[in-house]
């Protein structure tokens, strides 16, 4: 497979994952804004910080009103991180790797872009937002379904999955970090009574409210939420789950190509360092520091994969 094609598959999947994640976050923010009008602006600010768009937003606007933030995050083409921009990037990458994906995957990606382009022709009204966010997630599910149902399990599939899980791990870590950091300005506050509703939104944004209850009962406890999102190997958006998949896919590539890469070693090291310590230790040493280091390590791994498999000319 061409290095460029591997890179295209990797990024196509990253962008698809990213657009879904934005929709999830906006959904969580919107829910808070509906139920607690007082902290709505804070909540939107934290959503912007999570997706890394706060600086760009503040260059354009002075306050964090819902309609403005929503517009910026969904359909503003001057925002390279808006759902519309990201979907376009996913589609451009799919076009680039047209020869490595099935007709179904291509059509699903292309249709998803056309649907959203059409949806975002006008400003999204508040009453339409739930429907719109639903559509984004549905489109994303359609592409994922096409990938899982039609793509041959070759190296191309592995690169696509690597993109998905690198991005997802990044997203989950960011959600946790921003929430935690904003909620707990000082380390001394760890364990103090927290705003449960805010932690609920974290669970909501990763579609894990119900499954969390199965495991932990009715109370929302920050340590347990963090444990669930970091160490649980069954929760599809948890860091440990993502790294399990990253390991699998790097392992398949290794078997296919008969070559152990630096990236494989690096992924093993990340698992060892970040997913095998008890949550109490993580909290003792500082969750924020832990997450920052993890994000950097995750990013280094992405760059190492790029290098090992020659995505670009070196």
């Amino acid at each position: 497979m061409l290095g460029k094609t591997a890179g295209g598959l990797f990024w196509m999947s990253r962008y698809l994952e990213r657009s879904e994640n934005s929709a999830r976050l906006i959904d969580a923010g919107f829910r808070i804004a509906l139920t607690r009008s007082k902290s709505a602006a804070d909540e939107w600010e934290s959503v912007l910080t999570t997706v890394g768009a706060r600086t760009a937003y503040c260059e354009k606007y002075d306050d964090f009103s819902s309609t403005q933030v929503i517009d910026f995050l969904l359909r503003d083409t001057s925002n390279p991180g808006s759902v519309l921009s990201i979907t376009k990037l996913a589609r451009d990458n799919a076009r680039l790797v047209r020869t490595a994906i099935t007709r179904e995957v291509w059509e699903a990606t292309n249709e998803s872009w056309m649907t959203l382009k059409d949806l975002f022709r006008r400003k999204v009204r508040e009453q339409d937002l739930p429907d719109v966010l639903n559509t984004i997630r549905q489109q994303s599910a359609l592409v994922r379904g096409a990938v899982m149902g039609t793509m041959i399990r070759n190296d191309g599939f592995n690169f696509s999955r690597l993109g998905t899980f690198i991005e997802r791990a990044d997203n989950t870590a960011r959600i946790l970090d921003v929430k935690y950091y904003l909620l707990l300005p000082t380390i001394a506050n760890v364990g103090s009574s927290l705003d449960n509703v805010q932690w609920e939104t974290i669970l909501r944004s990763v579609s894990a409210q119900r499954s969390y209850r199965w495991l932990n009962g009715p109370d929302t406890n920050p340590v347990q939420v963090a444990e669930y999102l970091i160490i649980n190997r069954q929760m599809p958006r948890a860091l440990a789950f993502c790294y399990n998949k990253i390991d699998d896919n790097l392992g398949h590539l290794e078997g296919n190509y008969g070559e152990r890469t630096t990236a494989s070693q690096m992924a093993d090291d990340i698992c060892e360092e970040y997913m095998s310590q008890p949550i109490e230790t993580i909290f003792d040493n500082g969750l924020h520091e832990y997450l920052l280091e993890f994000l950097a390590a995750n990013n280094r791994l992405a760059m190492q994969i790029e290098q090992d498999y020659r995505f670009q000319q070196s």
């Binding site: 290095g3 291509w106 292309n110 000319q313």
Partner: protein, 465 residues
């Protein structure tokens, strides 16, 4: 569809019978469905310089163009003869130049031609083949009268539309294909791959690796490039994926460099190799010409092939066919005036309102004058261009082109068409896919069928015997 006496032509009888049973509403709906289908599959072409609408659909018409097996036999024999002559001409022109010595083609037409590549003199392309893929543009003026309008011997495009048009028709009107026996076109990608593989270079060991070279995602024909690579199961590469490695052209894969044997390139000669041609070009592969000359890779179509489809040379094609095949051409040229010649220029200038004037090196319907459709002002402007640079133009009469019906506003209306059959050449022989791409002028009375000028396409049926 109708003969000169307004009677239904025989090949359309079965289709007409089906059409009579159809409701206009259903056909209207099918037209819309076809558009959605093309959008969804991403069958678009890019228009340069139009930001918003940078991906456009080529209008598709649901009424097929129908050709009988007998007509097709005649046509395809004529095309085959012409393609043989073109390859022989190319070999000759880059070797002994006997046709020039014999005085059948003027020397300056070659010597001063930008499409002629001195770098190709004495080079022997693998299998002796220069043009592996040709699209010959044909127009029809009467029942048995076909003319060749153009030989696209360098990078003919449109074959993906031929294939997708058929696919769309089968999806929309499956019942038609069970009622009427139409010859298949769907094997083209496999044929293309087989044909290209048969032209592998001396350096190839084992199963030939075939790749398609595209200028990239922003090229107007990117859809076609990716479509062909996809359908052939070949890699789609750009210049920056390739480099010279150990005397071969190799592509950068996830496991290191892997040599390519046959490169179906869809970029022009000038951009192919910055070391040998345009130094600023980022599209090509530095050093590919040296590898090529040493037999390390097959380039399809061969560099320098463009000399054969140059419009200035077009008017000599009948002589070229006769010179190399020893036979009269089975397909005629459209009569052509060469503006480089004084008396012919005078005639052209006197008769501009009746003529079509084209740039010698132009393509895509740009830079041409269609006399009967032009305003007085257009004509006077073009007259100046002609006087300033007569060698840059040829002129042709506007033929009484045959028309075929299109479906418009719930009824059929006649429009002018041309036909581009696709030809594959390998040492094993020449194959022509039955049919080709029918391009149609969507505007009433218009003769311009180019997609870049708003022309559309339709499915082309060659009936079974």
């Amino acid at each position: 569809m109708f003969g000169t006496d307004d009677t239904l032509r025989a090949p359309y009888a079965a289709y007409q019978k089906w059409l009579d049973g159809e409701k206009a509403d259903r056909l209207k709906r099918k037209t819309r469905e076809a558009e959605a289908f093309f959008r969804k599959t991403g069958i678009t072409f890019n228009v340069y310089g139009e930001e918003e609408a940078d991906e456009r659909l080529i209008p598709f018409d649901i009424v097929p163009r129908i050709i009988t097996a007998r007509e097709w036999r005649k046509l395809s024999r004529g095309i085959e003869q012409r393609v043989r002559a073109i390859n022989a001409f190319l070999y000759d022109i880059y070797h002994r130049q006997e046709i020039l010595r014999a005085g059948r083609v003027p020397v300056e037409l070659i010597a001063q031609n930008e499409a002629f590549l001195p770098q190709m003199i004495g080079v022997n392309p693998p299998g002796g083949i220069y043009t592996h893929i040709i699209g010959t543009d044909i127009v029809r003026t009467g029942d048995d009268q076909f003319y060749v309008l153009e030989d696209n011997a360098r990078t003919p495009s449109g074959v993906s539309y031929m294939l997708e048009n058929r696919e769309t028709m089968i999806q929309m009107f499956p019942e038609l294909f069970s009622q009427i026996a139409v010859q298949e076109v769907g094997r083209y990608p496999q044929d293309l791959r087989r044909s290209l593989a048969a032209c592998a270079p001396p350096a190839c060991s084992g199963k030939p690796t075939v790749a398609v070279l595209t200028p990239g995602i922003h090229n107007s024909a990117y859809f076609e490039h990716s479509f062909l690579a996809d359908q052939m199961g070949a890699e789609l590469v750009e210049g920056h994926d390739l480099s010279v490695q150990g005397g071969r052209i190799a592509m950068r894969t996830t496991r290191g460099y892997q040599p390519i044997d046959v490169l179906y390139r869809r970029i022009d000669d000038d951009y192919l190799d910055p070391l040998n041609f345009k130094p600023e070009s980022m599209l090509g592969v530095p050093g590919i010409m040296d590898v090529y000359r040493a037999g390390g890779i097959t380039i399809a179509n061969a560099p320098g092939t463009g000399i054969a489809d140059d419009k200035a040379l077009y008017s000599y094609m009948p002589q070229i066919v006769e010179f190399y095949t020893g036979e009269k051409p089975m397909l005629e040229n459209v009569p052509t005036w060469r503006c480089s010649e004084k008396d012919q220029l005078a005639y052209v200038l006197d008769n501009l309102p009746e003529l079509v004037v084209k740039e010698v090196h132009g393509s895509g319907g740009y830079g041409m004058l269609v006399g009967p459709a032009a305003t007085k002002k257009d004509i006077e402007e073009f007259r100046k261009k002609l006087e300033n640079n007569p060698g840059n133009y040829i002129a042709q009469p506007t033929l009484a082109l045959s028309t075929v019906p299109i479906f418009t506003n719930a009824e059929l209306a006649p429009r002018h068409v041309d036909l581009r059959p696709f030809v594959l050449v390998s040492p094993k022989g020449i194959s022509i896919t039955p049919g080709g791409l029918t391009r149609v002028a969507m505007k009433k009375g218009s003769l311009v069928v180019n997609s870049s000028q708003g022309g559309g396409t339709k499915d082309t049926w060659v009936l079974e015997e």
